[in-house]
Every structure is written in structure tokens, then in C-alpha cells.
Symmetry: C2
Subunit: 361 residues, 2 copies
């Protein structure tokens, strides 16, 4: 597999976004968030998504000149309009504002409407945690997931993320509310691997493992849906997982004043919503004492009897942090279709391709 230097890749993403019409500061931030995903091993949410952004900016379905705007504020609650710009600058603005407001009010909630795809939700939660906050971040997305009891997609794979400070790296949870994301099925399909029963349902509401049909049906949004955490029915808690997806949909849709489900992308571009909650840790007590207690609890959990030999208990974020450290040193591996995609992007916006930038390590 091709390995690319982090800095060179980030610069390339930045240049491509600017060439497509993004403001330089927005391009820089968006590049950082996308490459952070590749660095952490969340390849599905990294530069593999760049083409969609570049094409959106190019076709003006994303407004490269938009700036997030505060449209409502009461105490620690703020509503931000993303004006259909890139999602990263809008949500980053919201998170930074939430951290600041949490310092003033102890706790803050910031809702974003008219926003776009935001990359990995954990990047934002972790950013807030590094500034001393407990943060909860979620976004909605186009429908892919069937709620408990339904045979058709109504919810996005809506990630839910939270993070909080420790005395070392933050604990950072970031997970789609479906059992598996669509990207995983696409990868298994490409690699001619099977999918498991209970991950998706067909139009008859029964679980399907017909991977070509499931992948095609999800893409066309016809007849197939992913299942929420807990799976089909109630025996393994499908209704519980469905309710976690619903939480994201409620916060990011009707509460944020954004669209939801089938209505998220319309003629006026995207109207995705995001929701951020921040609690300033020092409002709850001495911040370093609390970080120490978080450490103590995390250490106890890590020391639990392992489920099997070689299987340890990790804190959310442990693996992503380790992967990031390793890839920062050795380069970011890119799959051949992603390499090809980046070459096409360079051509599309008239940019020096990654290949001649001395990027490959």
C-alpha cells in the first residue's frame, strides 16, 4: 500500500479545496480534520471523502465563501447557521464557541443548521476536551438506518461522540449509531468478503446478507437499510440502539432547526444539523482532581480480567491515538482507489498531483 507523508497530504487537501473555491482558512481546517481521520485509521472519513467536497464546491452545491453566523443566543445556548458552507468550519466554530461559553456559563449547548458533512465527530469532541471540557457532539446525515420496527431507512448513521480530559490523552468515544457503516459493507464487497446476518435488512424487513444487493440498495436508497446497534427486533436491544440514533436525529434536526432524514439535501444545498454540549470540567470541581479520578476509573477498567488472551480492555480513543502516533512517524497508508481519486482531483482543479510532491514515503 502507498504511504503518504501527513504534512504533504494535508497541504494537498488544502490546495485542492482552495482551488475549488474554499476560503484558505476553511481549507486549512477542513484538511486538518480529514487527514486526522486517515491518521487515526478511520480511513472511511478521511481524504477518501475529498472528491465529494471538491465537486460540491466546484458545482456550488457547497458555498466556499460562506461563514458560520450566530443567529440566536440565550445564556449558554447558541444557534449557528452554517449557510451551506463546508461542515468542518461551521462545526469547529460551534465547538470553539461552546468551549468559550462553557467557561462563562459552566455549560453550553450550540446547535448548527444549514451545515454539511463534518468528517469525524470525535475530532471536535477531542478538541473541546483538550480545552478542559466534557463535550458531546453529534450530527445527522442522509437516511441509511431503519429504526426499530421499520423496513426502510429513516435515520443517518449519525455518529455520537463524547470526550473528556484525563491527565494524559483525552478519552474520546466516536461511533456511528448503526452496527456497521455503509463504507464497511462497500469494502467487504470490493474484497469479496461476506457480510454478517443482522447488519442490514431488505425491503421485506428481514435481515439480508446479499452483499451486492445491500450495497446497491443502500447507495440508491432503495429497499435496503442498515440496522441500529442492537440489531433486528428487541431480543438484542434493537429498540435501544434505535433510540440512540433517534437522539442524534432529534437534536440535530428539529431542535437545531435543521432538516432531517430525506429532507437534508434539497435544491438549496445541504441542511444538515449538528449539536454540541460542553460542560467546563472546572465548574464541577477542581479540574486536575477530576482528571485524576477519571484516570483512576479508566485504569481500573483497563485492568479488568480480559475476555480472551490478547484481548485487553481499552478506553475509547486509545487505539486511534496509537495509530495516529504511528502514522505520523511512518506515513499514512492510502488504498489504490483513494490514490486514483486524489489524482483525479488534482486534474479536476488543475493542481500539482500528490505523486510529484515528494509525498510517498
Amino acid at each position: 500500500m502507498t504511504r503518504v507523508d501527513q504534512k504533504v497530504l494535508t497541504d494537498f487537501v488544502h490546495d485542492a479545496l482552495v482551488a475549488a473555491g474554499a476560503r484558505p482558512a476553511d481549507a486549512e481546517l477542513t484538511a486538518e480534520v480529514l487527514v486526522a481521520a486517515d491518521l487515526a485509521g478511520v480511513d472511511s472519513h478521511g481524504v477518501a471523502r475529498l472528491r465529494r467536497y471538491v465537486e460540491g464546491l466546484h458545482r456550488k452545491t457547497i458555498d466556499g465563501g460562506a461563514r458560520p453566523e450566530i443567529v440566536r443566543e440565550h445564556g449558554g445556548v447558541t444557534v449557528v447557521d452554517g449557510h451551506n458552507g463546508l461542515g468542518q468550519p461551521a462545526l469547529c466554530f460551534a465547538v470553539d464557541h461552546a468551549v468559550e461559553q462553557a467557561r462563562a456559563h459552566g455549560v453550553a449547548a450550540v446547535a448548527v443548521r444549514r451545515s454539511n458533512h463534518i468528517g469525524i465527530a470525535g475530532w471536535y469532541a477531542e478538541r473541546a476536551a483538550r480545552r478542559g471540557a466534557f463535550a458531546f457532539v453529534t450530527t445527522n446525515a442522509t437516511p441509511q438506518v431503519a429504526p426499530a420496527g421499520a423496513a426502510e431507512p429513516m435515520f443517518g448513521t449519525d455518529p455520537v461522540s463524547y470526550a473528556l480530559p484525563t491527565t494524559g490523552e483525552p478519552i474520546c468515544y466516536d461511533a456511528a449509531t448503526s452496527i456497521v457503516p455503509r463504507g464497511k459493507l462497500e469494502r467487504l464487497h470490493r474484497e469479496q468478503q461476506p457480510m454478517l446476518p443482522g447488519w442490514a435488512v431488505g425491503p421485506d424487513g428481514a435481515t439480508s446478507t446479499d452483499i451486492p444487493r445491500v450495497v446497491a440498495g443502500l447507495k440508491a436508497r432503495e429497499g435496503y437499510a442498515l440496522l441500529p446497534l442492537g440489531g433486528l427486533g428487541t431480543e438484542y436491544g434493537g429498540h435501544k440502539g434505535s433510540g440512540i440514533g433517534l437522539l442524534a436525529e432529534l437534536l440535530c434536526g428539529p431542535l437545531a432547526g435543521a432538516s432531517w432524514s430525506r429532507h437534508t439535501y434539497g435544491e438549496q444545498g445541504a441542511d444538515l444539523g449538528q449539536f454540541v454540549l460542553c460542560v467546563d470540567i472546572s465548574a464541577l470541581g477542581d479540574a486536575s482532581a477530576i482528571a485524576g479520578r477519571v484516570d483512576a476509573m479508566a485504569d481500573e477498567i483497563r485492568a479488568a480480567a480480559p475476555a480472551a488472551e490478547g484481548v485487553g480492555v481499552r478506553m475509547p480513543g486509545d487505539r486511534r491515538h496509537a495509530t495516529s502516533t504511528e502514522r505520523a512517524a511512518t506515513g499514512i497508508p492510502l488504498l489504490p482507489p483513494v490514490v486514483a481519486d486524489l489524482a483525479k482531483i488534482a486534474e479536476l482543479v488543475g493542481l500539482e498531483p500528490l505523486r510529484t510532491r515528494g509525498a510517498y514515503v
Copy 2:
């Protein structure tokens, strides 16, 4: 099955708690919360728990005279010490304070430490929703659930609840973060029904369906553990469900300044934690317009193609509300062991038994 009138049952619970040493106002509230669970069909969290409360008060492991006290406040963030009183008055105080603070600050977070068992978390979230707030409520509990990768219990079955207003009854989600609660296994065991694989693990970290051993092991806290939503391993998202349980543990333990896991019950009584987040809906926009949007989204979801004939999509709380309405009219069914338990309680505290109170309908 015996059916009991709601009012008579509530009065009995109140009288038993007062006789055991609770303040009358606390007894009234606690009775309301316990009976609300039976009314809603959540029998595991209703009067079946009363004996534990009465015995705790009797033995002074719960302080019937305690009053919740605000020990820290900064902006919209408050820390409450429950002083080892009943959990219901402490958490209700916290929720009411959170609603009030959310009106002033838009958003509020209230953490409770030195608290006890609180009944159903959804009761509190719904109470806040009826006062115009989005509310998130969670509590920790003694360890019963193995985190992803572990073979021993570290997390409680920690319920997570959220609620928000609609134009009708609130949407109210309330679910333990394990696939099934211990009470369900105990019931299946009594009824000589099998349990499903993937609900619990044995000391070897493998999933067990040996229901007598699992039930005994959970009770003795030896060798057996429930599994979080998503089950064993990562194939069905056990790491995702584990992270939701961890969220409850972090908020209610180290962030609230309460104990966690094995440390929740010590020589000084209980030190459970609870955490409440409230956002005043009107801080986000016009409250009735938002309720209308919530309704519109809920109606779209309810109208989704059903997974099977006779299986509809419900909003969280729909079924509990329907059951409550029905049982308020026809009486609350009590299982024979619960009827026997209530008779023993009457004897223990010297109270007129339910049987002669004209309770049975």
C-alpha cells in the same frame, strides 16, 4: 394476577416509607416514582424494589432524614450532595433545579453524589420535558456489565434516559445500557424459560446460557457479567454499546464526584452518582414551533414501512404512556412474589396490609 388500585398502592408505599423513617414529603415523591414504574409496565423498577428501601431506611444504611444540598454552583452547573438519603428526592431536586437553571442560562448540568437508587430514570427526564426542556438523565449502579474486552463486571446496567416535549405526550427514551437487565434473567429463570446466547458471559469470557449459573453469579458478583448493547466482541458493535455505558459511568462517577463500580456502596452507605443535562427548548427557538417539528419528524418515522405485519414503529415512551393510561383505569397487576413482599413489609413496619385497604380491583 392480582390487580391493585394506583392510589391505594401509592398510599401504601408512602406509609411504609414514613414508617421506616423517611420524611413524609420524600416518601410521597418516592412512592410516586416507584408506582409510576409499575403503572408504565416497568415492573422491575416499581414496588418490587420497596423492600430494599424500607430495609435500608430501617437499618439506617439510607438516611431517611437527609436533604439534598447544593455544594457547588457555577453558572448553569450545580453539584448536589444527596447525603445518602433516598435517591428519588435527591434526583428530583436535581432535575427541578436543572429545569430552573436552564430557564435562566438556556442550559444546565446538575450532578448528584452520595445518592441512592432512583427508580426509573425516564420519570425524571419526562418531568423536565413537561416543563419545556430537553433533558438527559443517567445514573450509575453496582457493577453487572462487562465492558468490551473484559470478562468481569465493571459497569452498572446504568440507564440512559432522554425526553423532550412534543405537542402531545413527551418523547421519552429510557433504557439500561446492557442488552438485558438482570431482572429479566431472574424472571426467565423463575419461569423456567431459556436465555439467549450473547446476553451474558462467564468467567472464561465466553457467552453463557446456563441461566441458573448466570443468575447466581450476577447476584454474588462472581464470575458472570451481562453484556453491553452490541454484545460480545466488535462484530455487532459491543465496543459501541460499551462506550455508552462508559459515558454513564464517567458522568455519574468521576465527573459528579461520586464513587463508581465496586466502590458505590461502602461502610458510609451509598455513594451513587447521577447526572442531568437540560436545555430549555425556548432558548433554541420558538418552543411551539420546535414541538411541531418534533411531531412532524416523529410522524414521519411512525409512518415508515413496518418491518413485519403488526409491527409498527413507535416513539420511545409510546408504549409506556399507553400502559399507564390502561393501568390507571384498570389497576396495576402485581406478581405473587411482589404481593407477598408487600405483606412482609407491612408486617416489618407495623402497617395495615394492602389486602385490607380495599386495594384489589
